[in-house]
């Protein structure tokens, strides 16, 4: 080798290095520039101003705890005790939590020396350690109080509404009513509501103890009371999850059944007519391109909200996806097996059955089972739009903006459901076509 031989090679190598360097610095620079653009386009700096941290705190604390409302109606003087302030979570008449005492003067002990007293004539006394006793009088629509002028940040007061937030609980006072919220950890009433005879009993005493309800045996009674729990609605939740899985199952399988014959039309090997092939392929592209969102919107107009609409939206969109992948699988079929089958004198249909189908089934099944899992997630999302399944229950719970423990419950259920479907489709794939490795 001489120097003259080397110089072009060296030049080439230098060029290559230069290009590599350019790419090595260029791509990160482009990505960075794009992220800077996004920072301004999405107004990320203004996010802190828009974010509502109170909401975040409510969400974080409510999702694992529950509160009991003690409410005095200032017009009728009636006092109610209810879980989450809901009608269906009310204590039956004559019962109340044991941290409430007194008849004429109702004394609510929030713990750690925080005490609220409901006095006659719509007066309220609030004792918070380290702060002078607060007295509030409700008259008509306005409030009079003895609060000092400069308030600590845990008290907000106007002549219409006073809100006091302490570590032990929250108190709100308006002209119409006085309300105390006492917080406790855990999801209360998850098993039984207050009107059930089984409320407050342990599993042991329900299973082996005395009969609690004379009309029913303990186990059937407990199961039916739990199943029909009005606060947590276990029955509706189970149905909703069933609906979501049903949408995914019907949509995926229906799409696969529709797509298989169409895929033969789109595969070059089985359909020599160019026009027919092109039309089928464009059809696949079209239904895929329209996307589940638009299909859902269009189908909801025809069928109304519900699981059927979600099923059909998944079915139509996935027919396109399946059609495309199935026809690709059919293109890659090994010709030898088909020739072998046809050498035995097999008719065309038999050639497909014994020469083609056994080759493509593993590919198809793997695809279908993968989509079964992914469509469970899609069905949750579509359900939130078109109104069906667990997706709808989740959106409703979030929109009411108060049942955060239910939101947390649904989120856990959704994650468990998707992970179950993931495991199930993997298990089924293992059974049907063998493990991957």
């Amino acid at each position: 080798m001489t120097a003259t031989d080397l110089s072009p090679t060296k030049q080439e190598a230098d060029k290559l290095f230069q290009r590599k360097r350019l790419i090595g610095f260029g791509i990160p620079a482009v990505v960075f520039a794009y992220l800077v653009y996004i920072f301004f386009a999405f107004d990320i700096s203004g996010l802190a101003g828009r974010a509502n941290l109170d909401n975040a705190v409510t969400l974080a604390s409510d999702s694992w705890s529950h509160k009991i409302h003690v409410t005095r109606d200032n017009r009728s003087g009636e006092i109610t005790y209810a879980f989450e302030g809901e009608r269906k979570g009310r204590y039956p008449a004559g019962q109340r939590p044991d941290w409430v005492s007194g008849d004429e003067i109702i004394e609510i002990d929030l713990g750690a020396d925080h005490v609220v007293r409901y006095l006659p004539e719509n007066r309220t006394e609030i004792e918070v350690p380290g702060f002078p006793k607060i007295e509030v009088q409700a008259e008509g629509r306005s409030l009079t109080n003895n609060l000092p002028d400069d308030l600590p940040e845990w008290i907000s007061a106007s002549n219409r509404r006073i809100g006091i937030t302490t570590e032990e609980g929250r108190i709100t006072l308006t002209g119409a009513r006085t309300e105390v919220f006492n917080y406790f950890p855990g999801w209360e009433l998850f098993w039984f509501t207050l009107d059930s005879p089984y409320y407050g009993h342990s599993i042991g005493s329900i299973l082996f103890g005395e009969r609690l309800d004379p009309a029913r045996s303990n186990i059937t009674g407990a199961v039916s009371d739990w199943w029909n729990n009005k606060m947590w609605r276990h029955k509706d939740v189970a149905w909703a999850i069933g609906e979501t899985i049903l949408m995914a199952f019907l949509g995926t399988m229906g799409a696969a059944m529709l797509a298989l014959p169409l895929a033969f039309l789109a595969a070059k090997r089985f359909t020599p007519i160019l026009l027919l092939r092109a039309v089928t392929r464009r059809l696949f592209d079209f239904v895929r391109g329209v996307d589940a969102l638009i299909w859902t919107v269009v189908l909801a107009r025809a069928f109304g909200p519900g699981p059927l609409t979600g099923t059909l939206a998944i079915l139509i969109t996935d027919t396109g996806t399946f059609g495309k992948t199935f026809s690709e699988a059919l293109e890659n079929v090994d010709q030898k097996q088909i020739e072998g089958v046809s050498s035995t004198g097999a008719k065309p249909l038999q050639r497909y059955r014994f020469g083609v189908i056994p080759q493509v089934v593993p590919v198809l099944l793997a695809q279908i089972l993968y989509f079964l899992e992914s469509n469970t997630r899609s069905a949750t999302i579509i359900g939130a739009i078109t109104g069906g399944g667990i997706g709808l229950m989740l959106t409703q719970a979030i929109q009411t903006q108060k049942d955060w423990e239910e939101v947390a419950y649904y989120i856990v259920l959704i994650i468990v459901m998707v992970m179950f479907m993931d495991w199930f489709s993997g298990w089924l794939r293992g059974k049907l076509i063998g493990r991957k490795d």
């Binding site: 969400l59 592209d285 996307d291 269009v298 107009r301 025809a302 059927l308 069906g388 997706g391 959704i414």
Partner: protein, 302 residues
């Protein structure tokens, strides 16, 4: 029959002549029996499947607001109304498309940013969760579970919760899609990384390279084509996801679509403009990404 095999010479020919047909009969009958049993099982599975499909369809039908057979002939009504109105006002269509174009850009931006963030997260999670590559081999199950959970959460769950805290707009959708993308890509990336050649990594570690240097220089160049291909596929999926999340209040073209739908008849041309934009965007990115993906995987085969 087995006894005959060990006998040599003309004896064997004798045995196989006399024993042959009977043995073939035997094989044939047991084969037919097996085929019949397989057919029975296959038929039963098919029957159960059909019953499940039919029953499931009936349940879905009965729990739906409108029935299938009543609705079937109405499927075309809404699209044809929208199309005919859009056709009547076709002169206005370019203006509407221009009007909604910024919203479309927002939707694409959400998808692009969350793909970028998701890819970064996916690479880190996958490398930490792959045998032979992980920095802390004992924590592999932990990182795998984390990516499983991130993958299992549907985008809408995180988006709705974040909309409550952060208010509407693109950021909740971006975070929600990023989380799901990171989880989904971590699984696919780690399958690829498992098959990566470990020799470059060993070579690098002999020079005293740190873990991140080993990964950057030893592993990523090997897996890059596959990673890019999966990321492009994910970008395509994320455009759809970001349009859907817009529909529940996260900004972009989906949000505009919901508003346009709410106006009802008389403003169908706006809905039509959005449909056209969304459809052509999805088809465009679908085609572009599938072309590049084909090129990437083809290059690898050689």
């Amino acid at each position: 029959m087995p006894a005959g095999i060990f006998v040599s010479g003309d004896r064997m020919a004798d045995i196989s002549l006399s024993g042959g047909p009977r043995a073939v009969d035997n094989i044939q009958s047991s084969y037919l029996e097996q085929v019949q049993r397989r057919r029975l099982y296959g038929g039963l599975t098919l029957l159960i499947f059909i019953v499940l499909m039919a029953a499931g369809f009936n349940v879905a039908d009965s729990r739906n607001a409108g029935g299938f057979w009543d609705g079937l002939h109405q499927i075309g009504d809404y699209p044809s109304e929208v199309l005919s109105e859009a056709w009547d006002k076709r002169a206005d269509l370019p203006r509407l498309i221009a009007k909604y174009f910024p919203a479309l850009v927002e939707t694409i931006n959400i998808a692009a940013v969350s793909t970028l963030i998701g890819v970064a997260g996916g690479i880190i999670l996958s490398l930490l969760g792959t045998r032979g590559l992980a920095k802390w081999p004992r924590l592999i199950p932990l990182f795998r579970r984390i990516s499983d959970i991130m993958r299992a959460v549907p985008e809408i769950v995180i988006a709705l919760v974040l909309i409550f805290i952060l208010g509407g707009g693109p950021v909740p959708a971006m975070i929600a899609i990023s989380i799901h993308t990171a989880g989904a890509l971590a699984k696919m990336f780690s399958e690829v990384a498992e098959n990566a050649d470990l020799k470059p990594v060993e070579g690098l570690s002999s020079t005293g390279a740190t873990w991140s240097q080993r990964m950057m220089l030893g592993v990523l160049p090997q897996v890059a084509p596959n990673y890019v291909s999966y990321s492009l596929l994910r970008f395509e999926i994320n455009i759809r996801a970001s349009a859907i999340l817009g529909f529940v209040g996260a900004g972009g073209i989906g949000y505009e679509l919901r508003n346009a739908m709410g106006w009802g008849a008389g403003r169908f041309d706006e809905a039509a403009a959005i449909f056209i934009l969304l459809f052509s965007t999805i088809v465009f990115f679908d085609q572009v990404s599938s072309r590049y993906r084909n090129r990437l995987t083809e290059g690898q085969g050689q």
